[in-house]
Every structure is written in C-alpha cells, then in structure tokens.
C-alpha cells in the first residue's frame, strides 16, 4: 500500500523540517543557519517545540490510519483488543512487522516491546551510541504520536511515552487515562 522506503525517507525529513519551522518561528532573522538534512537536534530550547510538532504529525497520521484501516474488522471488544490492532495491523502497515511483545498489567498500562524497532534500525550517527540515542529521540516521537492518535480515534485517551537504553530495542509505554 505504501512504499516502505518512500515512507522511511519522508520520515527522515520530518525532524529536520520540524526543527526548521521551530527555528524560523522563534528566530526569524537567523534563517541562514537553518538545520540541513540529517541534522541532529541539539539545542534544548527547540526540543519541546520539535516534540509537539513531530508528535502532532504522528497523532494526525494515527487518527487517519485508525479510520482508514479499522472499517474491515469487527468492533473492538475492549482496550486490549485495540492495542492488538495497533501491534498487528498498524505496525504491519508502517513497519512491515508486528510488535514483538505486548505486555499489560490489566489496569490500563500497556507496554509494546520492540527488539528490532524498524524506525531506528538504520540509525547511526557520527559519535557512536550516545549521539545516535540523542539523534534518534525526536524520531521516536512520531510512533508515540501514531499510537496516541489511533487510540484517540477509537475513543481512548492515553499518555504514550517511549524508553530505550540500547537501540534498536524500544519500549512504548501506554497509560490509558480513565
């Protein structure tokens, strides 16, 4: 349905684009120093702004995906069923694979365990693991937004965060707001 390479290359530009927009809005006179392609976000001041943008793009995509790809299936039985929809259908759509493990405490907390998260599999920055983690963080806000967006479209409000200590292992934590 979507060329995964095209999607990947587009997503690679999402963070630098968000940073450029954020820079242009806050420091319009410094337009000449705008972030080039492949730029690592290192200024703390823009990080929040970039978070809201990138997470927002993901949210918008998640809303759309939920509407476009849930109409063929039966109604959701419960929240766990919705999580399974994200882990299987949505992840297959975006990353050509399913989430490796889905954990839950049955009280509104869910964890998606990704041992080989496709979104970060090919990320490697100059300066090794530390710089790679730093650079990859804004890109992980996109799937965070997607998860939140899909859930929102299905009528569930949730806080979504991610955790990683060694890429490409990523944990997505979802707390359903009761």
């Amino acid at each position: 349905m979507v060329s995964s390479t095209a999607l990947e290359l587009l997503l690679a530009e999402v963070v630098p684009a968000a940073l450029r927009v954020s820079q242009e809005l806050t420091e319009p006179e410094e337009g000449s120093k705008m972030a080039p392609f492949g730029y690592l976000v290192d200024s703390e001041s823009h990080l929040d702004n970039v978070y809201f943008r990138v997470e927002g793009y993901g949210y918008r995509v998640g809303r759309g995906i939920a509407e476009s790809f849930s109409n063929e299936r039966p109604h959701f039985a419960d929240t766990l069923d919705m999580m399974k929809f994200i882990c299987k259908d949505v992840w297959l759509l975006l990353y050509n694979k399913q989430v490796d493990h889905l954990k839950t405490n049955h009280r509104g907390t869910f964890v998606f365990v990704e041992n080989q998260f496709r979104g970060c599999q090919r990320m490697s920055a100059k300066g090794g693991q530390v710089e790679t983690m730093k650079g990859a963080t804004p890109y992980l806000w996109f799937p965070v937004g997607v998860i939140r967006g899909v859930l929102a479209a299905l009528g569930i409000q949730a806080d979504v965060t991610f955790e990683t200590t060694q890429l490409p292992v990523v944990y997505f934590n979802i707390h359903v707001v009761q």
């Binding site: 690679a12 963070v15 100059k126 710089e131 790679t132 890109y139």
Partner: protein
C-alpha cells in the same frame, strides 16, 4: 588479501576510505610508473597536475600536526592515494567506455599490476567504489555491488541521522556502515 576500500561521490570527492592491512607493496614509486604509462589521456593529465600541487600544500601543512594519532606522513599519503586512485579510475573508465562502443558504459571492471589489483564498480548515480586487493583475487564487482545495496543504501541513504552530502574532510562516519563494511570485507578474506 584485501588492502583497502574507497568510495568517491559524483563530485569526485573521496567520501570514505578504509584500510585493512599495511600496503607496503603499492608505494609511491609503483604508482608513478603506472601514471606515466597512461598519462597521454588529457583528462588524466589535468588530474595529475592537481595532485602534484596539493601534495606540496599538504606537505607544508603536515609538519605542525605531528601530535595527531595518525602519523602525518601516513595521512598525507592517504589523501594523495585517493587522488591518484580517482585519477586512474576516472581516465581508465573513460578510455574503456570510449573504446567499447555503444554498450560500453559499464566496461571498466578492474586492472591489475604484479603487486595489486583494483576492482571498480560504478552505480547509476555516479558513485564510484574501489577495492584494492592482491593480484590473484577474482572479480569483486559483486561484492562492491553488495556493499552498495546492503550497506551504503541502507545505512547511509536510509539513515535519518546521517548527512546526505559528504566531502573528503567530512567523510561517511557512522558505526553501522563502518562495522558493516568491516564485517563484510573480513568475510571475503
């Protein structure tokens, strides 16, 4: 035995080099004699001129930076080697293409001397990849193609954290690509 691996971008910049072992067999003298044999080509003649001038410049620059980890002589030679290799493959490729006639765009594959063999692969996007090995190696074009498809495209082009334009002073530098090349080449040896 694989000696070294080089990538040149479409602006003729050497954007990646990696060496695996000492290469005492291909020193400046063998390169010079080799140059002389094909320097009748006009474009190569101009390339040679720029090599000569930059060598003088880098020799002057090389003196104060003795305390760097790479010995200045080794560093200077690597820069010069890159230019020599580029000059050689550039003119050989043009010559081979010209003489091969209509379907000759991909006709330069390798050349060898009694000391080493140079394997050449060029992508449709004008990326030139060069592998220097001992003279007895069969063609490594497929290996270069593999490196391009499975490592360069995956870990440089599709790597969101990697710049997309490189130069000789700002070469490809990321662990996934570096380790990938190292593992692949050691697997061939």
């Amino acid at each position: 035995m694989i000696y070294s691996f080089w990538i040149f971008d479409r602006h003729s910049e050497c954007i990646y080099t990696k060496e695996w072992s000492e290469q005492p067999t291909y020193g400046p003298t063998s390169n010079h004699s080799h140059n002389a044999s094909i320097s009748s080509n006009h474009s190569f003649g101009s390339a040679q001129g720029s090599v000569g001038s930059s060598r003088r410049a880098s020799r002057i620059e090389g003196i104060p930076s003795v305390n760097t980890s790479i010995h200045p002589v080794a560093k200077r030679n690597r820069e010069d080697d890159a230019k020599l290799i580029f000059g050689a493959v550039f003119s050989l490729r043009n010559m081979a293409t010209k003489w091969a006639g209509e379907n000759g765009t991909d006709s330069f594959v390798s050349f060898k001397t009694n000391k080493y063999k140079l394997h050449y692969f060029e992508t449709p996007t004008n990326l030139k990849m060069v592998l220097l090995t001992d003279p007895s190696r069969p063609s490594l074009r497929d290996a270069l193609h593999d490196i391009y498809v499975n490592l360069f495209v995956e870990y440089v082009i599709k790597n969101a954290l990697s710049p997309q334009e490189f130069s000789s002073t700002n070469p490809i530098d990321n662990d996934l690509f570096n380790n990938g090349v190292d593992t692949y080449i050691k697997g061939l040896a």
